[in-house]
């Protein structure tokens, strides 16, 4: 950060240009990319300017700025990838934590492309090294998990409960967290003074104080998360763990698993032939066995808990917590993803490792995501937790409750009502508002659902209720007329609105058409069919016909077919009485449903005169086949283009296709 400026001028210039970038303008972005390309000797300065810019601009301008970064690394490549790669984690996460959910999705997409080579280039390496991107991904994953653990932390802060349970009360360490670091502050790169980092005593003494500027790739203290942060649980940084002291951890974990086993047994008893359940039960029993027979080091317990947390966290990755906005960007300095665990660098006993990586657990995870009635709340619990954590009922007995709650919310366990009877502790279950994990819009949840079905006969036999979920509950917004489902997102609602409009229009037209009578249309030819597009959104343009397909067809026909051309009926009486100069016939005024006004069909206005479009086309025609003469202008046949038009075209297509 203290590098001198070898090229202040370029940097200053670039900075100014960046500041003009307020919207996602392709032109400006490519311009900035070109500048970057032409000044590779100042790459370091430019990179820094860009990083600072991304860091400092308000959230709504972060995306365009990141697009510049994206464009530069993809189009120019080295040395920018190196310079920008260094701080990519901070740059990306800093932005990610501040932007809204829509932008996050864009960022997710961007991140995805960074893992791949630049499209169209010969380079086979990904845009950024996998190490760099993996780090971000891990952090995001952790963030998702963490958000689900929040209540747990809240519950930790219910001292009376904890004392009652005879647990050591974690020392609140809130100094720096209390400092309201404004999001835009530089803290992104300057973590709080080390002394304020949690460093209270930890029973097993293996806490290490992390260096303030951890080398990104290595900063992965395996178990330096002795205490949750207490004041602002919601804002837990990505990857910051939920773990409590190992001993409690173990107890509660055991209890959780015992509960889980109980549940599973019950379920299994009712559906004895269910293989998945059997596998899951087996896995859980194994896990229980290991926990009770072996002394596991804390980090392994963490690992298990990680898995269990993942199990509960996966279906609803809390990657979209909009209230993040207020979060001081502190997260970045601590969480550097504890890559040790996912990558297995933490030593683990073989059997545990095997268990953790076994398919059984994957099945558990999969099972955890099986269908549940989607909890309705989206933001509510979140904002609540933000305003005042104290408002949480001090109900819980620690992480276990929360785990149970999460599992329950995920549908792994039956709903609330059962809790008291099943929990060996007999704790009351927290109100649903608090134990409902933040729900993602279903569209986002979708990719997170593990689809592990292979095209093999055995894989096809395993029931996967969580995937059925994608057909039902993932799209909770159902049309009551035809049963079609939509996502509960904004887009989903818009689509549904369009869809309902479509029903409405169709019904209205059905009433009309009952008087008129209708007929089967002729089928389209190959070319039309190939070019036709269904309109699944039932967008308003379907007004013309009942069917989306037909509307698109009609639209495409209209362009080609003079008979479909129409103009609004002129209101000027002089013009309205003028016949077609070619055939001397008057124009028929008809009501057009599509336009919702009176029109002259088959009409075209050129200059001040209105012609029959077909007459005009005929005159201009270059001696091709005469179009069919249709007596009934309304017949669909008449609306079709002349038979030979397009026919030669398609035949040439086929001729080509056959040749190749």
């Amino acid at each position: 950060m203290s590098v001198g400026l070898p090229s202040d001028e370029v940097a200053e210039d670039y900075k100014n240009s960046l500041e003009d970038l307020t919207a996602n303008s392709r032109y400006e972005i490519s311009n900035l990319t070109v500048i970057a390309r032409e000044n590779t000797e100042h790459a370091m300065a430019i990179s820094r300017v860009l990083e600072n810019h991304i860091k400092n601009v308000p959230p709504d301008r972060k995306l365009p700025a990141l697009y510049v970064l994206d464009s530069v690394v993809k189009n120019v490549g080295t040395p920018y990838t190196i310079f920008l790669g260094r701080n990519l984690f901070y740059t990306f996460m800093g932005a990610y934590s501040l932007v809204n959910q829509q932008t996050r999705r864009k960022l997710d997409e961007m991140l995805k492309t960074w893992k791949e080579p630049v499209p169209g280039s010969q380079e086979t390496n990904p845009v950024f090294p996998h190490d760099t991107t993996r780090q971000i991904e891990t952090a995001l994953l952790k963030a998702r998990t963490t958000a689900l653990q929040l209540q747990q932390q809240n519950q930790f802060r219910a001292p009376q409960e904890l004392t009652a349970r005879g647990r050591p009360i974690p020392t609140p360490n809130t100094q720096w967290r209390n400092t309201p670091t404004p999001p835009q502050a530089n803290s992104l790169y300057y973590p709080p003074p080390p002394q304020s980092y949690p460093q209270r005593s930890v029973p097993n003494g293996n806490f290490q104080s992390p260096p303030p500027f951890p080398p990104i790739s290595q900063y992965a203290p395996p178990h330096d998360h002795p205490q949750p942060y207490h004041q602002q649980p919601y804002q837990q940084p990505p990857g910051y763990s939920q773990y409590s002291l190992p001993s409690q951890n173990l107890d509660s974990l055991k209890r959780d698993i015992a509960d889980l086993v109980g549940k599973t047994k019950q379920e299994f008893a009712s559906i004895p032939y269910n293989d998945t359940l059997r596998i899951r039960l087996q896995a859980l029993l194994d896990l229980q066995n290991i926990l009770s027979t072996q002394q596991l080091p804390p980090h392994e317990i963490q690992a298990i808990r990680d898995q269990v947390a993942q199990l509960s966290g996966n279906p609803h990755p809390p990657s979209v917590p909009p209230p993040y906005v207020a979060t001081p960007p502190v997260p970045q300095q601590q969480p550097p993803p504890r890559s040790s665990q996912p990558q297995g660098s933490t030593p683990q006993p073989g059997d545990l490792q095997a268990l953790l990586s076994s398919r059984n657990l994957a099945d558990i995870i999969a099972k955890a995501q099986r269908s549940t009635p989607t909890p309705p709340a989206t933001q509510a619990p979140r904002s609540q937790s933000q305003q005042g954590p104290t408002s949480y009922p001090p109900v819980s007995s620690g992480p276990g409750t929360d785990l149970m709650a999460m599992l329950r919310a995920k549908g792994l366990l039956p709903p609330n009502s059962n809790t008291p009877t099943n929990g060996p502790l007999g704790f009351a279950s927290p109100p649903s508002a608090t134990n409902t994990p933040p729900i993602l819009p279903a569209s986002l949840a979708r990719p997170a659902l593990i689809n592990d079905v292979d095209l093999t006969s055995t894989s096809l036999k395993i029931p996967r209720p969580h995937l059925i979920f994608t057909l039902y509950e993932a799209r909770p917004n159902q049309c009551s007329t035809c049963g079609r489902r939509f996502f509960a997102t904004k887009e989903g609602r818009e689509m549904k609105a369009c869809h309902l409009d479509w029903h409405f229009r169709t019904n209205r037209r059905l009433v009309d058409s009952a008087k008129r009578g209708q007929s089967r249309s002729w089928y389209v030819d190959e070319l039309e069919w190939i070019k036709s597009r269904d309109n699944p959104g039932d967008a308003p343009l379907t007004d013309a016909s009942s069917a989306a397909a037909k509307a698109t067809l009609a639209a495409s026909l209209a362009a080609a077919d003079p008979k479909k051309r129409h103009i609004p009926a002129p209101s000027d009486p002089a013009l309205a009485n003028q016949p077609c100069p070619i055939c001397q016939e008057k124009f028929a005024t008809v009501w057009n449903d599509e336009e919702q006004e009176f029109v002259w069909m088959d009409a075209i206005k050129l200059g001040n005169r209105v012609y029959h479009a077909s007459c005009h086309a005929e005159i201009k025609k270059d001696g091709g086949t005469t179009p069919l003469r249709i007596n009934t202008p309304d017949s669909v046949l008449g609306k079709r283009k002349s038979p030979s038009a397009g026919f030669s075209e398609i035949n040439s297509i086929y001729a080509k296709a056959v040749k190749t």
Partner: protein
């Protein structure tokens, strides 16, 4: 209501108390309704689907001349008005593996989109009455519900898809599939309560493709070209791929296998699903497993169990289905009545072709070299309208009467007309056309299939 007959029939219908079917999760209600009878099914609570298409709650669905099953993943209650020919609740279904097949396809669609490969082209093969069409419908419906746009292709000329029997057709499905009525309806001139689907139709006019592979294959190749073109052109469909339904008859042995081979290469099939036949499965594995498609993917051959709900449909029932499909083409269904148009046309206004009978004999009789020359012009015989044509269905195709015979053979269908009467004296045909207006001046094909319908025009 004062008419005694009407009142009687109305009261008979309403007298029957509605029954309520309680379905546990993972079970299905299988029912058969005879032609001429009808039942009304309402989903009272829970979720239910018919061949993959979800039912809306509290909406009445009417069925007639149907053998179908309503499945529930989560449990449901159905209210049924009217009497079924047979109905029962089955708890053992292969739905889990059917749904998993969909998810496996979804997975490879997703992989395809990230790796810029083509989405899977799925071929369903299996003996008659194994539930092939139902599976195709299910996969199509699930794909549509997952926000995709599959292209469903029917190569079985015994039954039509969005058209009459005797045809092969393809259509992109991006909107809900009609629950009450097979595949739904092709476009009409008016509105339709269920979005219509736009089919591309080719006419074979034969029940069994093996009867005339010399015609079946080129038409199928042509259909495949159109579909592949659409897949290339239409981003939505490209990401989804296609699902191909086949006639059961080709799954019975040698000649049929050759047709399957053709389908696989024409459509560049990447997944072959064998439904309900171990023997066919092993034959298919032997033939295709591990082979590569034209774009280099490995062909996967998988086997699925036949559903216990599959019933053998007897010839009488199938004939009724065919007649209903033809009737529906001209007259519409209960939801939307269509008005076809009767008209007289001159013998000279039509050019009717019929598959030449001799082509098979010719190939066997003539020496190798002569075959090519002599066979080419004899795809069709040109037919004068004759009394035998009465009650026949003629397909009007997108080809001029003067076009070469190959062009006529490979052309897609514009529509069908029904020959109500042949007046040789006045040299006039009385025909039923779907629309009013002059007939397109195009070639017409007279097939031997579907058989004529006698009482079309009263």
């Amino acid at each position: 209501m004062s008419l005694p007959g009407l009142e009687l029939s109305a009261s008979v219908e309403t007298n029957i108390e509605p029954t309520v079917q309680d379905l546990k999760e993972g079970s299905e209600w299988r029912f058969e309704v005879a032609f001429g009878h009808q039942i009304e099914v309402k989903l009272l609570s829970g979720n239910a689907e018919l061949f993959g298409t979800e039912l809306a709650q509290k909406q009445p669905y009417t069925f007639t001349g149907t053998k179908a099953a309503i499945y529930t993943w989560h449990g449901c209650q159905l209210e049924v008005h009217g009497e079924c020919q047979s109905e029962y609740i089955a708890e053992e279904t292969p739905m889990i593996s059917y749904a998993n097949l969909h998810f496996a396809l979804e997975k490879s669609r997703e992989e395809a989109s990230t790796t810029a490969r083509d989405a899977p082209r799925v071929l369903i093969v299996g003996p008659e009455n194994a539930g092939k069409t139902s599976l195709v419908k299910l996969l199509t419906a699930y794909a549509t519900r997952s926000g995709r746009q599959p292209i469903a292709i029917n190569l079985d000329t015994k039954e039509g898809m969005l058209s009459i029997p005797g045809t092969m057709s393809a259509a992109a499905f991006s909107s809900i599939i009609d629950v009450e009525d097979g595949w739904g309806s092709s476009p009409t001139t008016g509105p339709s309560p269920v979005p219509v689907k736009l089919p591309l139709v080719y006419f074979l006019g034969l029940a069994n493709p093996e009867d005339k592979t010399s015609v079946y294959k080129p038409i199928m190749t042509r259909l495949a070209l159109s579909v592949l073109n659409r897949l290339q052109d239409d981003g939505e469909s490209r990401g989804t791929g296609c699902i191909i339904d086949t006639p059961g008859v080709i799954s019975q042995g040698k000649g049929g296998y050759e047709i399957i081979q053709h389908i696989v290469s024409d459509f560049s099939v990447s997944v072959i699903v064998v439904l309900g036949s171990e023997r066919l499965y092993s034959d298919m594995v032997r033939r295709f497993n591990g082979q590569r498609t034209s774009v280099g993917e490995t062909i996967a051959v998988i086997k699925l169990d036949k559903s216990g709900g599959c019933v053998d449909r007897d010839e009488a029932y199938l004939q009724q289905v065919r007649q209903a499909q033809i009737r529906e083409y001209f007259f519409g269904d209960a939801k939307s009545t269509l008005s076809p148009h009767t008209q007289q046309v001159d013998f000279t206004a039509v050019s009717i072709y019929r598959w030449a009978d001799s082509s098979v004999d010719l190939t066997s009789l003539l020496p190798g070299d002569a075959v090519e020359e002599n066979l080419a012009p004899s795809i069709f015989d040109k037919e004068e309208p004759s009394p035998q044509m009465q009650n026949a269905i003629l397909a009007i195709v997108h080809a001029d009467p003067s076009d070469p015979q190959e062009t006529i053979r490979d052309a897609s269908v514009i529509g069908f007309i029904y020959v109500a009467e042949v007046d040789e004296k006045r040299r006039k045909l009385k025909i039923l056309a779907p629309l009013s207006g002059r007939l397109p001046n195009k070639a017409m094909i007279w097939g031997s299939w579907p058989e004529g319908v006698t009482d079309m025009v009263g």
